[in-house]
C-alpha cells in the first residue's frame, strides 16, 4: 500500500470500546507518526565519476546516508539478464548505443554502461536490432568494448514513496584546476524535467563563477527547492558546467561530494 500523508482524522462520538484502540491508532498514532517522521533521503556520490563539460548530466549516487522509505536502490546485476558490450564507441550527448547483442534487452530495463568512473545508468526506451535507445543522452563518450549489463535500478533516481511536497537540496562539485569564466549550475529534476517548466535538465539553482586556481580551491555550488512529487515520479540531481577548464570529474573529498537530500514537508 502506498505510504500516504495523513488525512484529517474524524472522531466519532460513541465509538464502541472494542474499537477504541484501533480507532485511536488510526486517528492519533498514525497521523502523528507521519508528521514527526516524514519520508527523508540523503544521498551522496563518494566514488570517482567522470564528467563532460557543457552537458547536463544526472549524478548516479552510490552512498545512502539515510533513506527512510526505500525510494533509492543500489543497482544489482540481473542474473540472466542482458550482458554485452558496445560494438562501437559512443559519443557524448547521444541517446543511442549499438551493442554486440541485444539479447535480453527490452524497453523499461535498466542498463549499466561502462565501468568505474565512466559508469552510466540508463533506462532502455526502445530496442531495434542491436541499436538501443536510452532515456537520456549519455554523459561522456564510451569506447567500443565497454560493458553493457542489465541492472535492477538507476542509482541517479530517487522514487518518493509518498505524494506531496519535498524540500530538496542538491550540491554539485568539480575537481581540478579552474579557469576564468568557469561556471557551475545545480538543478533538481522530476521525471527528467523541471517541476516549474523552466530550466534545462531540471529546475536550475544558483549560478556562480568558480575559483580559477588549483584543485585545492573548492569548486561547487548548491541549491534548495520545494518540489512536488507523485508516487511513481523520480527525482534526480543535475550538474552542468562550462568548458573553460580541463576539469572532467566530480570532487569526492568528504564534504564536497555531489549530493541529493530530500524531506517531505506536506501535501
Amino acid at each position: 500500500m502506498t505510504l500516504q500523508p495523513p488525512g484529517v482524522p474524524v472522531f466519532v462520538a460513541g465509538t464502541p470500546g472494542s474499537q477504541m484502540a484501533a480507532t485511536l491508532n488510526r486517528t492519533i498514532r498514525d497521523p502523528f507518526t507521519f508528521l514527526l517522521d516524514p519520508p527523508t533521503v540523503r544521498l551522496r556520490r563518494v566514488g570517482a565519476l567522470n564528467l563532460q563539460a557543457n552537458q547536463h548530466q544526472y549524478i548516479p549516487f552510490d552512498q545512502a546516508d539515510e533513506d527512510s522509505e526505500g525510494g533509492w536502490t543500489a543497482p544489482v546485476v540481473v542474473g540472466g539478464g542482458a550482458n554485452t558490450t558496445l560494438s562501437s564507441g559512443s559519443s557524448t550527448n547521444t541517446s543511442s548505443i549499438v551493442v554486440v547483442s541485444a539479447t535480453g534487452m527490452a524497453a523499461g530495463d535498466f542498463i549499466r554502461i561502462d565501468a568505474a568512473a565512466n559508469t552510466e545508468y540508463r533506462r532502455i526506451s526502445t530496442v531495434a536490432g542491436t541499436t538501443v535507445n536510452v532515456s537520456s543522452p549519455l554523459r561522456i563518450a564510451h569506447s567500443a568494448g565497454a560493458a553493457v549489463v542489465e541492472v535492477t535500478s538507476d542509482p541517479a533516481r530517487y522514487y518518493p514513496q509518498a505524494p506531496g511536497w519535498y524540500m530538496g537540496t542538491v550540491t554539485v562539485s568539480l575537481s581540478g584546476n579552474g579557469a576564468t569564466g568557469l561556471t557551475l549550475t545545480p538543478a533538481i529534476s522530476v521525471n527528467m524535467g523541471s517541476p516549474t517548466g523552466t530550466g534545462n535538465g531540471g529546475w536550475e539553482g544558483s549560478v556562480t563563477y568558480l575559483p580559477t586556481g588549483a584543485a585545492t580551491q573548492p569548486k561547487l555550488t548548491a541549491g534548495l527547492w520545494p518540489i512536488y512529487c507523485n508516487v511513481g515520479d523520480f527525482v534526480q540531481a543535475d550538474l552542468w558546467y562550462s568548458n573553460e577548464s580541463l576539469i572532467s570529474a566530480v570532487d569526492t573529498t568528504a564534504g564536497l561530494e555531489c549530493s541529493l537530500r530530500l524531506v517531505h514537508v506536506g501535501i
Binding site: 500523508p5 495523513p6 488525512g7 484529517v8 482524522p9 474524524v10 472522531f11 462520538a13 470500546g17 472494542s18 477504541m20 484502540a21 486517528t27 492519533i28 498514532r29 498514525d30 497521523p31 502523528f32 507518526t33 508528521l35 514527526l36 527523508t40 539515510e66 511536497w165 524540500m167 537540496t169 550540491t171 576564468t180 569564466g181 561556471t183 516549474t196 523552466t198 536550475e204 539553482g205 544558483s206 549560478v207 556562480t208 563563477y209 568558480l210 575559483p211 580559477t212 586556481g213 580551491q217 573548492p218 561547487l220 555550488t221 548548491a222 541549491g223 534548495l224 527547492w225 520545494p226 512536488y228 568528504a254 564534504g255 564536497l256 537530500r261 530530500l262 524531506v263 506536506g266 501535501i267
Partner: protein, 392 residues
C-alpha cells in the same frame, strides 16, 4: 486562514493544544471526547499536513536599475492560502491570519540575471513590507552572461493578513540589466515554519500504540496510564513550535585572514532561537542542536570588499561537530569576487543535517584575497545562519 474541521467547526490554526484536567478527589477530570480530540488532533493534523505554502515564478523579463532594489513580479503556481494576487501588487505574498501574533516563514528565492560584469555584484534578497532587504547571495557575473544569486531566509511576519514579503533583485553594474526568462526565471517559494510563540517541549517519542488495556490520564505515568499531555498535547506543541533559529553577525567585529582555511563566523545576534541553542557571547559561532532530528541549515558568509583589486575566491561551508566526536563538513558556494566592487560578497551553504542533541553546527568562511577581510555586519547585509527542525 480558517480551517474547517470535520464537524463543521471553523478555527484559526495552529491552536495551542488543551491541558487536560486530571480527576482527583472532587475535581472532575476531562474525558477523551470526540469534540476535544477534534479541537486538538484534527486541527493539528489538518494544519501540519498542509502548512501555508506559496510557489511562483516570473514570466516576464524585469529590468533592474543599477544600485536599486527591484521587486520581482510573480505569477503563482500554488498558493494554498490565497496570499498572492496575480493582478495587483504581483510581487507580494501576504501572510495569512493565524491564531498567532506572528509566524516564521522559510523563504527561498532565485533571481537569474543577464549580466557579464565581472566587476559588479548581483544580489537576491527578501523584503518585508518594503523595508530593508535581507540579502542572500551577492556574487559577480562572467562571460556566460548569466548569474543567479539565491536567497534563503527565515522571515517573521505578523499574522493579520496585512503584512507581506517579496523577492527582490539588486545589481551595481552601472547600467540597467534584465532578469532572465529562459531557461532560468526568477522564482519565490514560501512555507510556514514555526509559530511566533509557543511552548518548547521535549522531542516527542515514537507515537503511542493504543491498546485495549490503556487508561487515559492527564500526566500520570506507569502501569496502564497513558498521559495525554505527553502523547497528544506536547506532540502538537512541538509541531507548532519546533526548534528554529535565525542568527546573524549584526554588531560583530570579526576579521577573516586570507588563505588560512575556514574560519567560524561569530554570530552575535539572534532574531529567533526558541530552544536556546545559541549564545550571542559564548562560543557564539555555534548553534547547538537542542533535540535529535533532521535539520535544514542554511548559512551565509558575508565578506567585505575594499573596492580595490578584489582577487582570489570566497567560499562558505557548514561544519557539523558531533557530540560523540568528529565533524562533518557541508560545503557550499565558492566564487570569485567582483573585481572592483566595494559592496561585498555573500556566499552560502545549505544542507539537511542529521544531528543528535548536543551536536553543534557553525557557518564558516574562507577567502584568499591576500589580506584580511572583515565580516559584514549591517542589518540585512551580514553573515547569518538559519536552522529549522524538519524530522525526528
Amino acid at each position: 486562514m480558517k480551517i474547517t474541521l470535520p464537524s463543521g467547526k471553523q478555527i484559526y490554526p495552529p491552536l495551542d493544544p488543551y491541558t487536560w484536567a486530571q480527576q482527583s478527589g472532587t475535581t472532575y477530570g476531562w474525558g477523551l471526547s470526540s469534540g476535544i480530540l477534534e479541537d486538538n488532533v484534527s486541527m493539528a493534523v489538518a494544519f501540519h499536513r498542509q502548512r501555508p505554502f506559496f510557489q511562483g515564478i516570473t514570466s516576464v523579463s524585469t529590468p533592474l536599475t543599477t544600485a536599486s532594489w527591484t521587486p520581482m513580479p510573480i505569477t503563482e503556481m500554488i498558493d494554498t492560502i490565497a496570499g498572492h494576487n496575480d493582478a495587483t501588487n504581483t510581487s507580494r505574498w501576504y501572510a495569512p491570519v493565524t491564531i498567532n501574533n506572528t509566524d516564521w516563514y522559510l523563504v527561498i528565492g532565485y533571481v537569474p540575471m543577464v549580466s557579464s560584469s565581472t566587476s559588479a555584484v548581483h544580489i537576491a534578497g527578501v523584503r518585508v513590507d518594503g523595508g530593508t532587504p535581507l540579502e542572500g547571495m551577492k556574487v559577480t557575473a562572467g562571460a556566460h552572461t548569466t548569474v543567479t544569486p539565491m536567497v534563503v531566509d527565515l522571515v517573521n511576519l505578523t499574522s493579520d493578513g496585512t503584512h507581506y514579503l517579496e523577492l527582490a533583485g539588486w545589481q551595481n553594474t552601472g547600467g540597467t540589466i534584465n532578469t532572465q526568462t529562459s531557461p532560468k526565471t526568477p522564482s519565490l517559494s514560501v512555507q510556514w515554519a514555526c509559530s511566533g510563540s509557543g511552548t518548547a517541549v521535549a522531542l516527542p517519542a515514537v507515537p503511542h500504540t493504543w491498546t485495549d488495556t490503556d487508561q487515559v490520564s492527564a500526566s500520570t505515568t506507569g502501569g496502564p496510564w497513558v498521559p495525554v499531555h505527553t502523547h497528544i498535547r506536547d506532540v502538537i506543541r512541538y509541531l507548532n513550535f519546533p526548534p528554529v533559529a535565525r542568527l546573524t553577525a549584526i554588531g560583530s567585529s570579526q576579521s577573516i585572514s586570507s588563505g588560512t582555511g575556514y574560519t567560524s563566523i561569530a554570530l552575535t545576534a539572534a532574531d529567533v532561537d526558541n530552544y536556546n541553542g545559541h549564545n550571542n557571547s559564548t562560543n557564539n559561532s555555534r548553534y547547538t542542536f537542542p533535540r535529535d532530528g533532521l535539520y535544514l541549515v542554511a548559512g551565509q558568509y558575508s565578506c567585505d570588499e575594499t573596492g580595490g583589486a578584489n582577487t582570489g575566491y570566497r567560499s562558505c561551508r557548514l561544519l557539523h561537530t558531533l557530540l560523540a566526536g568528529g565533524s562533518l563538513a557541508y560545503y557550499g558556494d565558492s566564487t570569485v569576487p567582483g573585481s572592483t566592487t566595494s559592496t561585498g560578497t555573500h556566499v552560502s551553504a545549505v544542507a539537511l543535517i542529521r544531528a543528535v542533541a548536543g551536536d553543534y553546527v557553525e557557518v564558516q568562511g574562507q577567502q584568499s584575497q591576500g589580506a584580511a577581510r572583515n565580516v559584514l555586519t549591517a542589518a540585512g547585509n551580514t553573515s547569518k545562519m538559519i536552522v529549522v527542525w524538519k524530522s525526528r
